[in-house]
């Protein structure tokens, strides 16, 4: 078989696929962060824990109630999203009149609590979650082997990202959201229930994180720390894309996943830091991020 730049194609495309998968998670998670930040003006530090919760609740549904993957895909975002709604109503909404820093500290504390509970009850060794039988196996594409489940993750996350983008940018509901992001007090003065919109938006952002968690469960074993590790990279993605930009988070998420995959092929030592290096460069050249609006 021919080699590209001395790299066997199997390895190249394998790493690109891995990059695309990681990118899919970066995209969904940074999208949720961007939506929450846009309307609530808080950086949701609990996002990684809520992603982990998505994976953990899927595992619990399967092992305690026998509810399968496909139902989990639907139910878990609703369940975890609802816990987000409660958190926003009971705790986060009390902080809006204070400095942003308080929201960050609160959500950071919540993340530690959620992860602490998970570690306490489920340990850190990781709980296995089998790939649903419909998506077991894979396709031999000639130049590479594509596991079905990984293909599904890319397709499902793209679909969710595009749907979310469409709803926000092209529908009436999205127009309310965009307007309230710009000027909540005027939107309220038009008769729209902004506090309820804020609550539902937070719930939706959390539901996106939980959806990513369900997708992740069969790939990475369900581990209380899975979100804490990932979310640091996702914050870097958000900084690169530009805080609050919807399309920016999607494109940056997938793009950086691919860049990371390529780095793993050509300079494996750099793959763990490449995103942070890009973040530093972007901050130097365009501090508002690639897609960010400068205030």
């Amino acid at each position: 078989m021919i080699d590209l730049l001395g790299i066997p194609p199997q390895a190249l495309f394998g790493q690109l696929l891995l990059g695309l998968i990681n990118g899919a998670f970066y995209a969904i998670l940074s999208l949720g962060l961007a939506i929450i930040f846009g309307l609530l003006n808080i950086i949701n530090f609990a996002h990684g824990a809520q992603y982990m919760l998505g994976a953990l609740v899927s595992w619990m549904l399967l092992n305690y109630l026998g509810i399968n993957y496909w139902w989990a895909l639907l139910l878990v975002p609703i369940i975890v999203g609802f816990t987000g709604v409660v958190l926003e109503r009971v705790l986060i909404s009390r902080l809006y009149h204070l400095d942003h820093l308080y929201g960050l500290l609160l959500t950071f504390g919540l993340a530690l609590i959620i992860q602490g509970f998970a570690r306490n009850y489920y340990g850190i060794s990781g709980l296995p979650y089998t790939i649903p039988s419909q998506l077991a196996g894979g396709q031999n594409l000639g130049f590479m082997f594509l596991p079905n489940y990984r293909g599904w993750v890319v397709v499902a996350s793209l679909a969710v990202c595009i749907t979310t983008w469409f709803v926000i940018e092209k529908t009436k509901l999205g127009a309310y959201l965009r307007a309230a992001t710009e000027n909540p007090s005027l939107v309220g003065a038009f008769g729209i229930n902004v506090p309820r919109m804020i609550t539902l938006t937070y719930g939706f952002g959390v539901a996106l994180a939980a959806f990513a968690g369900v997708l992740a469960a069969p790939i990475y074993s369900v581990n209380p720390n899975m979100g804490a590790d990932l979310i640091i990279v996702v914050f870097a993605v958000v900084v690169i894309g530009g805080m609050g930009s919807i399309l920016g988070s999607i494109l940056t998420g997938f793009g950086l996943g691919l860049v990371e995959g390529l780095t793993r092929v050509f300079y494996p030592e750099g793959s763990a830091v490449v995103i942070f290096v890009i973040m530093a460069l972007v901050l130097l050249v365009k501090p508002a991020g690639l897609f960010g609006r400068t205030a």
Partner: protein, 249 residues
């Protein structure tokens, strides 16, 4: 313009004696700073009333307080017999009051069309979209533009146009002519006269005193967060000296 095409379900009354809005002892705060100290207004149905006063007197704050947009306020605002003081802004909007804010409040992330359609209908009797286009033909040409790409005058038309759809019958307009070319100011003057004829009631904050006198029935003078005087438009000429003293012109 074809007058008939604008006819709505709204009874096209001239100014009647029925008080539509009564404001008594209105006070308001921004955080710790006490800005309004006692605003009293009576606005009858179908009237155009202006708030005149120097910069920083509290005119914008008065409109925002009526609309419920400030967290801390005191006093009484009665609209159509209903006390609004303890309602949040969204319920005041549903009662039938709409605001066109000082900075116009056109949303940059929304198209002209989305800006126009944003405020939900609160009751029947608002203008239809074709009627709004008849008032502001420019908007029709620019529907898919980004809201803030419009010229200042067009943005002002959009900011007024979008609150005509909702069915609100009391319009709070905050300096609609600010920074606009004379020809646009004139167009907005015609629009206000037209809306008055349609039965809308309008509270107008205005720096442009000649403009104010051309459209209003009465003028309230605001000084340091208080209403200190009221002058009928018909008695304006006789009160010129007093007015100049108030406004410092």
């Amino acid at each position: 313009m074809a007058e008939a095409a604008l006819a709505t379900e709204r009874p096209a009354t001239a100014a009647s004696a029925a008080p539509l809005l009564t404001v008594r002892g209105l006070e308001a705060w921004y955080g710790e700073s006490h800005v309004l100290h006692g605003i009293d207004l009576d606005v009858r149905s179908g009237e155009v009333v202006t708030l005149l006063g120097r910069n920083g007197a509290g005119k914008t704050t008065t409109l925002k307080s009526i609309m419920g947009m400030l967290p801390k306020r005191k006093g009484s605002v009665v609209f159509e017999g209903k006390e609004l003081m303890h309602l949040p802004a969204r319920h005041i909007a549903k009662a039938g009051i709409a605001i066109c804010p000082e900075e116009r409040g056109v949303f940059a992330s929304l198209s002209v069309q989305e800006n126009l359609m944003l405020p939900p209908k609160v009751r029947d009797g608002g203008l239809s979209v074709p009627q709004i286009f008849e008032l502001f033909p420019n908007l029709k040409e620019r529907l898919s533009s980004q809201g803030t790409k419009l010229s200042g005058g067009e943005q002002q038309m959009l900011a007024i146009g979008r609150i005509l759809r909702t069915g609100a019958n009391l319009l709070l307009l905050d300096e609609p002519t600010e920074g606009l070319a004379p020809v646009i100011v004139q167009q907005i003057g015609h629009t206000i006269a037209r809306l008055k004829k349609e039965g809308f009631t309008i509270v107008l904050v205005e720096q442009n005193f000649h403009f104010a006198s051309s459209v209003a029935d009465r003028h309230y003078i605001v000084e340091q967060g208080r209403t200190v005087d009221m002058i009928e438009n018909s008695e304006l000429d006789a009160n010129m000296d007093k007015l100049h003293a108030y406004l410092g012109v």
